[in-house]
Subunit: 346 residues, 2 copies
């Protein structure tokens, strides 16, 4: 039996309070509290002293007590309405990391739209629950009525991939147009001259931007418009199947397809295989999102990846900074994307 282990357990079990830290560090309780709340008005030297003592003793603030005394919730809620659970769980992971670093709770809530707006669902939530900060992801991040309600209440908030960036918000995003352009250029660079674009929902700003990038690339490479087809999808796998069938009627000689997300790319590829087309030999397909689909399909799918986890992490961190500072500093964070080359367009 290891002696140290016993000692450690006792130490860990002991209910250390802010008072213990204060005593050991030789400062007041208030000072310790200030340190743990990142308040100004503590000399750096004292701050380091307190933090050092806390670390040595293994102290962690009691969240319930903080909530009770401060009447703050230490909750950051992510409001979403997206069937893509992979996307949501990446956001959640990013939030959770940032929250757990700072003593906050990460919460996820699916909102249901009524009459095209999430406002009612949001209000119902805010009536019942207290939140210190809010994160919105598409399509909720484009709901003006929701944003108005949040701003009205002065709740710090962050928008992930918003259609319109907001001045009084934290905005995290990729350059969707540029990303659409670059993956289209990738397709063109692979020798494709007859191309198709499969759109997502036109109500999603991201889809429109990706399409704009597609057309930019077409222009930049002077590809004749008659060699290009636009098919409308809705982000679902099924709409990818349908798009392929339409394509075969309208323009069977197309060799390169850019689908605005991976699910549609999967649908397109399945339909193509079913029709006897070889992928990528006869038809190359690229997607967007680098979802698990893209990795697990066969052929695996070349896709444009955005750092969702990191975007969520940064937005949460900045949100917490905002909550503490009670004012917003920098508000726009653009993230780099990457083309993940796989078998569907090698």
């Amino acid at each position: 039996m290891n002696i140290l282990r016993g000692v450690f357990e006792v130490t860990a079990r002991k209910n250390l309070t802010i008072a213990d830290i204060a005593q050991h560090a030789g400062v007041s309780i208030k000072t310790v509290s200030r340190v743990f709340n990142n308040s100004p008005n503590v000399r750096q030297q004292k701050r380091d002293l307190v933090l050092g003592v806390a670390r040595d003793l293994g102290y962690r603030p009691n969240i319930s007590a903080r909530q009770l005394a401060s009447k703050r919730s230490f909750v950051i809620s992510h409001f979403h309405d997206n069937p893509n659970t992979d996307y949501l769980s990446e956001i959640y992971d990013g939030m959770r990391r940032a929250c757990s670093e700072q003593g906050y709770y990460a919460v996820a809530e699916k909102l249901e739209a009524k009459k095209g707006s999430y406002r009612a669902a949001l209000l119902e939530y805010l009536l019942r629950y207290e939140v210190d900060g809010v994160i919105l992801s598409p399509p909720v991040s484009d709901d003006e009525a929701v944003i108005r309600e949040i701003e009205k209440r002065d709740i710090p908030y962050a928008l992930i991939s918003p259609g319109k960036k907001k001045k009084k918000a934290i905005n995290v995003f990729i350059d969707e147009k540029n990303a659409g352009r670059s993956i289209t250029e990738f397709l063109i660079a692979r020798g494709h001259e007859k191309l198709a674009f499969i759109s997502g929902l036109d109500s999603h700003a991201a889809s429109r931007e990706r399409e704009a990038g597609f057309w930019e690339a077409i222009d930049a490479f002077s590809i004749p418009k008659k060699n290009v087809v636009r098919l409308s999808g809705n982000f679902s796998m099924r709409s990818g199947f349908a798009a392929f069938d339409k394509l075969m009627k309208k323009a069977p000689n197309v060799t390169g397809i850019f689908a605005a997300n991976d699910e549609m790319a999967v649908g397109t590829i399945v339909a193509a295989l079913r029709a006897g087309k070889k992928v990528p030999e006869e038809l190359s397909v690229v997607g967007f999102d680098d979802s698990p689909f893209a990795r697990s399909m066969w052929p695996t799918i070349t896709s444009l990846a955005q750092p969702v986890d990191n975007m969520a992490h940064v937005s949460t961190q900045k949100l917490i900074d905002w909550i503490h500072a009670e004012s917003l500093e920098e508000s726009r964070f653009e993230f780099a994307t990457q083309i993940i080359v796989r078998d569907s367009c090698p």
Copy 2:
């Protein structure tokens, strides 16, 4: 710093306290507290009175205060290690519903196995965080070392679809063998006489049971063993592709396939389409789980559905009952399954 990672019920907005309710109801504070903690020793009449007043005034207990005073966490943690985010999010939804009804926090934590066990990851978690109850899902629910540690600490826990049911636990499950048998019989009833089974990971008890059900059906219908093929997969889409290719070499005349989950069914179908086989005309495929895949593939996939959301809801409810009662009553809950008939085997 933060313990809680998940969705939970935050304190109510209105500042009603237990004292307000006590005053309005004309009882003591203590009595109100008892009512909200489902303690015995309160007459039913008083209980109803208090509950009525609380409802009328819109009172909800302040969780932070409860935590602080009781030194309980009001946290229920779900430990998992499953790449299927759809499955996890269904569990989470069920937990969340039950938790929010009862003033608990629902938390989800992915555990990483070291040397084949989740024990180390669990211990690390328990050292840092307080939990009042635990839910384990496969494959964590089959980790004996994990279960031992939880029992050693007398933490109430529930097992979702465990390989071995535990006496001192809440067990929620479907009859995997029977489910495997019934969907195989469905396949046979559709006229298929040459069949294949694609297994999941053999380390998952569920996969073994589903297979046992498959063979039961084969026996029951006296299908000659030479007309039956077993292919081993690992639950991934890719292993479904591979299984189909193997199948074409070993037994190209098979007409009905039972894949132990939907992802492998998708893989099989994609490979079949690619090989020019028509689904379901030349080859029928059934899956298991009724995942979003099954609904969105084309052809859509006939699949066996289990009520995951409800299983999680019930296990959470029963867990909370156990926590309150400080003793375990009924411990086994079997759920009915359903075959969802779709295009891949109509």
